[in-house]
């Protein structure tokens, strides 16, 4: 269950990109696989720099990868 208000669709994007592994994405953006796992689960909100790197890796804009849900 996500504990952050920042949502993402990294998992789907990885799947769409020839089932890219978490390790491959982690290596591409320079973090550990555990960090990618935490981001995908919504347990960790990445820094802006890392968020941009991830979006750029998929060739997308930041808001196409990450979204922010306003708290109720």
């Amino acid at each position: 269950m996500s504990s952050s208000q920042i949502q993402n669709n990294i998992r789907r994007l990885r799947f769409d990109r020839n089932e890219m592994t978490q390790q491959q994405l982690a290596d591409a953006v320079g973090v550990s696989r555990q960090t990618i796992v935490a981001i995908e689960k919504g347990n960790y909100s990445p820094s802006l720099e890392l968020a941009f790197k991830i979006a750029r890796e998929f060739g997308l804009k930041l808001e196409e990868v990450f979204s922010y849900d306003e708290p109720d």
Binding site: S3, V31, S32, T35, K41, N43
Partner: protein, 148 residues
């Protein structure tokens, strides 16, 4: 298990082991009359310096042994670099360790106020060092497990 998570278990083990050995040696020497830890503060000064020195050397040796064993078992020779999440977890853990240390210091002052002998402060130093390390490394393990 992640390399940095495993390292925390090693730190906890080495912290307990080194402090226990140090405490045993000091207590044994005190009981046999070789040193007097209740009297001269110079003795504590020397003991603390020896403890810090031995502690640093022992930790380096334990870390080297851990890295060798880890490299043999996992076949990963390179130590993974700490990324932004590792650093964030480190900061949260240091915050918790700071709270623990502050708590012990306040308790020590309270105990002094109700009549604890002054040499108890030096014992509190050693205890706070161990507890701080336990809190810091346990916090890191908790945050790694939690995923934050």
């Amino acid at each position: 298990m992640y390399y940095h998570e495993k390292q925390n278990y090693v730190n906890i083990f080495s912290g307990i082991f080194i402090t226990a050995v140090f405490a045993y040696i000091v207590y044994h020497r005190h009981i046999t009359g070789q040193i007097d830890i209740t009297g001269e503060y110079k003795t504590w000064g020397i003991l603390m310096l020896i403890f810090v020195g031995i502690s640093i050397v022992a930790r380096i040796i334990i870390q080297i042994i851990f890295h060798i064993i880890n490299a043999i078992v996992t076949r990963e020779e390179e130590i993974p670099k700490k990324d932004e999440r590792d650093k964030m977890i480190g900061l949260k853990a240091i915050r918790n360790a700071y709270y623990a240390m502050s708590g012990i210091m306040v308790l020590t002052i309270l105990f002094l106020a109700v009549g604890m002998p002054v040499y108890g402060v030096f014992i509190a130093f050693v205890i706070s060092g161990l507890v701080t390390e336990l809190v810091e490394n346990s916090s890191k393990i908790y945050y790694y497990r939690k995923g934050s």
